[in-house]
Symmetry: C2
Subunit: 331 residues, 2 copies
Amino acid sequence: MVQDVDILAARVRDGDRRALARAITLVESGRADHRADANALLEKLADPSRQALRIGLSGTPGVGKSTFIEAFGLKLTDAGKRVAVLAVDPSSARTGGSILGDKTRMEQLSRAPGAFIRPSPSQSELGGVARRTRDAIALCEAAGFDIVLIETVGVGQSETIVADMSDLFVLLLAPAGGDELQGVKRGIMEIADLILINKADGALRETAIRTAADYAGALRLMRAREGDAPGFPKAMIVSAVEGSGLDEAWDAMTELAEYRRASGFWDARRARQARGWFADEVRKGLLRRLQADPEAEAAMEALAEEVAVGKRAPGAAAVEVLDVLTRDERA
Amino acid sequence: MVQDVDILAARVRDGDRRALARAITLVESGRADHRADANALLEKLADPSRQALRIGLSGTPGVGKSTFIEAFGLKLTDAGKRVAVLAVDPSSARTGGSILGDKTRMEQLSRAPGAFIRPSPSQSELGGVARRTRDAIALCEAAGFDIVLIETVGVGQSETIVADMSDLFVLLLAPAGGDELQGVKRGIMEIADLILINKADGALRETAIRTAADYAGALRLMRAREGDAPGFPKAMIVSAVEGSGLDEAWDAMTELAEYRRASGFWDARRARQARGWFADEVRKGLLRRLQADPEAEAAMEALAEEVAVGKRAPGAAAVEVLDVLTRDERA
């Protein structure tokens, strides 16, 4: 055991940010003994009474995402809220370092007493990043954070993955001509609760207003979704640099969150998400046990050779491996 | 047992098409007892000495795929080859019937003594269709077919799935203006070994020639792949209606297949594919066993309720379920 899980759990529950950082490092580890500790820690910290508002935030590089998060986060911490920022950046695995995770990006916010900023775990597989991120969210909630911002650059499936672990999903866009509206994939539009057109300041302000109107029009054409408050999803303008529109954006998020809590959608969705994570853990755990069982692993290796040359059929060979692992014979 | 697996295996091995059809129905069944029979049958028929040339063929509706398969298939059967046609159509699950599977589409080919045509299994899940199709391929090979054509309309991931179970992948396209070249997704271009521009007859012949030249140019810009014979991937014109270009297309396929056999790429790729199928069977089998174990299933249900309301952490709860299934405690 790396350190005493009970002590770490108590410190996380007290809101100790260094303990939270250590706890996240523990759940991000791939080592089997760390995993056992991480499971024990998460189990100890499971507490339905501590819920943060989980806000998924996507925006491609250049839309001013860091500036927005810093301005928005400071607004919230100034109002006495505790804000955690987690990054999901599948590309960081390839480049070896996360562009998102750099705390220097959000210098002021990182120094705010109520804020916690965590870079993306470097993991080659998006599924691995997803598991680590949802565990990190659970830890931030246990540590008493009010808001967890989960940011992503939107590479591949990362937006869907982030939306699946959020209560609200916000899309941050730059002002653009009407033609560029097509650039946002329909699937992303469908998961957005709020579209914020950033940089609505100076020479770009008029363009931002037009862009927001274009997106508002596009959103009205989409079919109604379960859990939408009247008027949602909506498109608004913000200026992270000037700080304008941030209150309105927060009001919209709060309005939607409250609507979803009152309608029961919030709880139902969280329950559905948690069930999905559980099923995912069971699936992955099965494979890990198979790989950790020397007898089953050896049988699998030997059979794979025979299957590879066509001497054995994959299905029947799989049954043989499974019989070794589960030690009885069920189809 | 539905029928004696030994007898069915012997008949399939004799090339009996009715027995082959029954065998495919058996491997397509979702019933647990059928699955056991199917595994036994596939295991009995596993025979590295019986290999067909597996040709994946993709083409969207309107490119004349049925007409091409009929003309191409008849050319091969006339030359004494035995040709099986299997369809992978994930959309058939939604519509309730396969547009691809209709034998009346390929009336002449379906009556040819050396041909066997099988519609897409109706399955809601693409993964299920994939497993059933690769089992059907194995059965066609065991039945002594020389060529297995696996056709798909190219919905979602179906082209990648078909390419992953083929020795060669052919993309059938219609003549089109230069601008429409963009319409073919780059990912599909990357898996194509041969692009055939169909309808190179009458008024469209010149357009087809230009389209083929455009694609040939685009293919030259792509990075070289392992297993490519000199000059491959290539783009050619055919006319399924006039029967022109079919010999040249077949010569190209044969040339590439022979190159891949000689270079060792063929065997290496087949081994890699078979290993992947085996791993897939193990993964799915683990889940099936979990669902078939009343104790584990009950534990999973009860724990899912607790996870859903946030009382338990997904990871630790998963370990509890797995302990029930594997009856010991490994991480």
